[in-house]
């Protein structure tokens, strides 16, 4: 009896697993696929048969978007914002996490609570006063007006993921470094940075994707089309050209591509990083 039950999952479990996995993947992917494939259809195809397949496939929608200056301008803006925000969040976050994880001082607890409480402040809550702060710094309609607040709002997540990572670095390594005459800062650069890489990558990917997809802040801060990021671009494009559904779909597909590629390239790291952070 025991042998039989133990074997059973392996015997029939596999096809069943595949079936469920495929079903689930289908549900996840189908809507995205609809957007991508829809970009290969013409408007009349879409309006006569909304759920059909391209017949024939047309690539002009995609070519038109790829040829448009607007798309590439917004693409570059998104890229600049995402990279700068990610680097900023990771660098500042790593520094402060190091302090929180490995220094002992009076206000440590308060400092950690401060950052952790930041989780309760989504950007949308503070958006109006935040806008006023950004304006006072003269950063309205400037990419920095998106980047710097994004760094600030990215810090709580970063701190919470990285502190456990940095704590887990064995004390012996630090002591060894100290005996070798390396100061704590040297220890930080030579040992901590490489050792916390899995966590850093996780934080970086989440930050990059979050920035790539951020909508509310650019909506408030950026005014002129030349400064728009892709989510704003998608929205403006889809209202300006919504006569041209196929082109909207093509634009939308191309806009999501980079975040997807970025994630696909680093997906192993994400699960690895989360495993470190979750610690069952």
């Amino acid at each position: 009896m025991s042998a039989r039950t133990a074997d059973r999952p392996q015997k029939w479990g596999n096809p069943f697993t595949y079936f469920v996995a495929l079903l689930f993947i289908g549900v996840c992917v189908a809507p995205v696929l609809y957007i991508v494939v829809g970009g290969f259809r013409t408007n009349s195809q879409i309006s006569t048969s909304p759920a059909g397949l391209p017949e024939p496939w047309v690539i002009s929608n995609y070519l038109n978007v790829l040829k448009s200056v607007t798309f590439w301008g917004e693409f570059v803006n998104s890229l600049v914002v995402a990279l700068a925000s990610t680097v900023g969040t990771v660098v500042l976050g790593l520094m402060v996490s190091f302090v929180l994880a490995r220094y002992d001082f009076k206000f440590k607890g308060a400092m950690y609570s401060l950052f952790a409480a930041g989780l309760m402040f989504p950007m949308v809550i503070a958006i109006t006063p935040l806008y006023i702060v950004i304006k006072d710094l003269g950063l309205v309609d400037n990419l920095l007006g998106v980047i710097v607040p994004q760094i600030a709002f990215g810090l709580p997540t970063t701190v919470i993921i990285l502190v456990p990572f940095l704590r887990a670095i064995p004390k012996e390594i630090e002591e060894a470094a100290a005996i070798d005459g390396t100061g704590r800062l040297g220890f930080f650069f030579r040992m901590v940075v490489p050792l916390s890489l899995p966590g850093v990558v996780t934080v970086g990917i989440l930050g990059f994707i979050g920035s790539w997809n951020n909508y509310v802040l650019p909506l408030y801060v950026l005014n002129s089309q030349a400064n728009f990021t892709l989510p704003l671009g998608v929205q403006v494009f889809s209202s300006q050209y919504s006569v041209d559904t196929a082109r909207v779909l093509a634009f939308t597909s191309l806009a999501m591509l980079p975040a997807m590629a970025f994630f696909a390239a680093f997906q192993k790291r994400i699960v690895g990083g989360l495993t470190g952070a979750v610690k069952g």
């Binding site: 304006k135 309205v140 920095l144 408030y220 002129s224 209202s239 006569v243």
Partner: protein, 431 residues
Amino acid sequence: MTRKTRRTAAAAIALGITLAATGCAGSDGGGSGGSSDGKVTLTLWENAQPGAGAEYWKAAGAAYEALHPNVKVNIQTVQNEDLDGKLQTALNSGSAPDIFLQRGGGKMQAMVQADQVQALDLTDADKANAGAAGIAGYSIDGKVYAMPVDTQPEGIYYSKDLFQQAGITTPPTTMPELQDAVAKLKAIGVAPIAVGAKDAWPAAHWYYNFAVRECSQDTLKKAAQSLKFDDPCWTKAGEDLASFIGTEPFQQGFLTTSSQQGAGSSAGMVANHKAGMELMGNWNPGVIASLTPDQKPLPDLGWFPFPSVPGGQGDPAAIMGGLDGFSLSKKAPKEALDFLRFLVTTEQQKEYAKAFVAIPVNKEAQAGVTEPYNVSALQAFNKAPYSVLFLDTEYGQNVGNAMNTAVVNLFAGKGSAADIAKDTNAAAAKG
């Protein structure tokens, strides 16, 4: 000593951030231009659709630049639904454009009270160009705060072809006739009336027009001061609307239909003969033209005034309408006023009327209006004993917003006629 170190470090960091921030702050939009080297940049926000309207603004800017080489006109198109919100934050933050679209009414009053717009110093020639009615619409206590460019009598736009197919011979003049037309259009399988309820205000305009019929001019005016909506006519107008909605005259899924964005929008439905009628202001022909398959004006478009409602306190010939005009923000340079003057010259007004298929304020340019729907609208406008500004504009952003939301609720069957007055009264407390 350590304290000092820490403070110095913090200061250095703060300085670094400030430097980085200001160093890269090459803002290229939104703000007004300085005129240090004699070159002036004027930033202007308008809400044109892509197409002829947007082209007009580019051309007008270029024409003005040609006349005044020291001025650069920077036109920024802001999507209509985003305009009010963006403008408010921009005004509040001192990053306002020099010239911006002014809707008038309570919205303009709020800006005037906050000292955010310039009073315009207009010559008699300017006043003649812009027309007395338009100037009056933008005046508070004898001062003019915006230059009108077009007048927007509201009424029902319809497709003559669809009316003919449905066997409707004359445009409806009373509510029973309108209901009859609705039934006939349903019979030929098109949506009788398109409404972009997703944007709230197009649905609310139905309520406004019933209110213009039900409430006396005096009641409407008083409400603008007191912001109290206790007169029974407000509820009566809601009941009229509720019973009209009961006949299901609007297209399917109107709650998620926007008004101007694309072929699926209410204007798009009229442009593509998917719907027979739409209640709108005078900007509609231009919007419809940008949404027809060939992006040309709809050839069979007609116009009739909002039908009369028996027993109402309002004059049956009274008309609802708005104005499009442009205000100057407080720090706009003097060249901005000159540009406004340029906009109401006969030549520019003719171009404007052609591009937007609109009714210009300039009387000489009005003579050039030939489109049948504009001719009907202009006639009705000239015949009307008085004209009422769109209520959400008239009563200001806060109250207007609440009224619009309450009307949308009524459309969706979620509220009663009495709720409109109740919700609107409640909103007055919030702002």
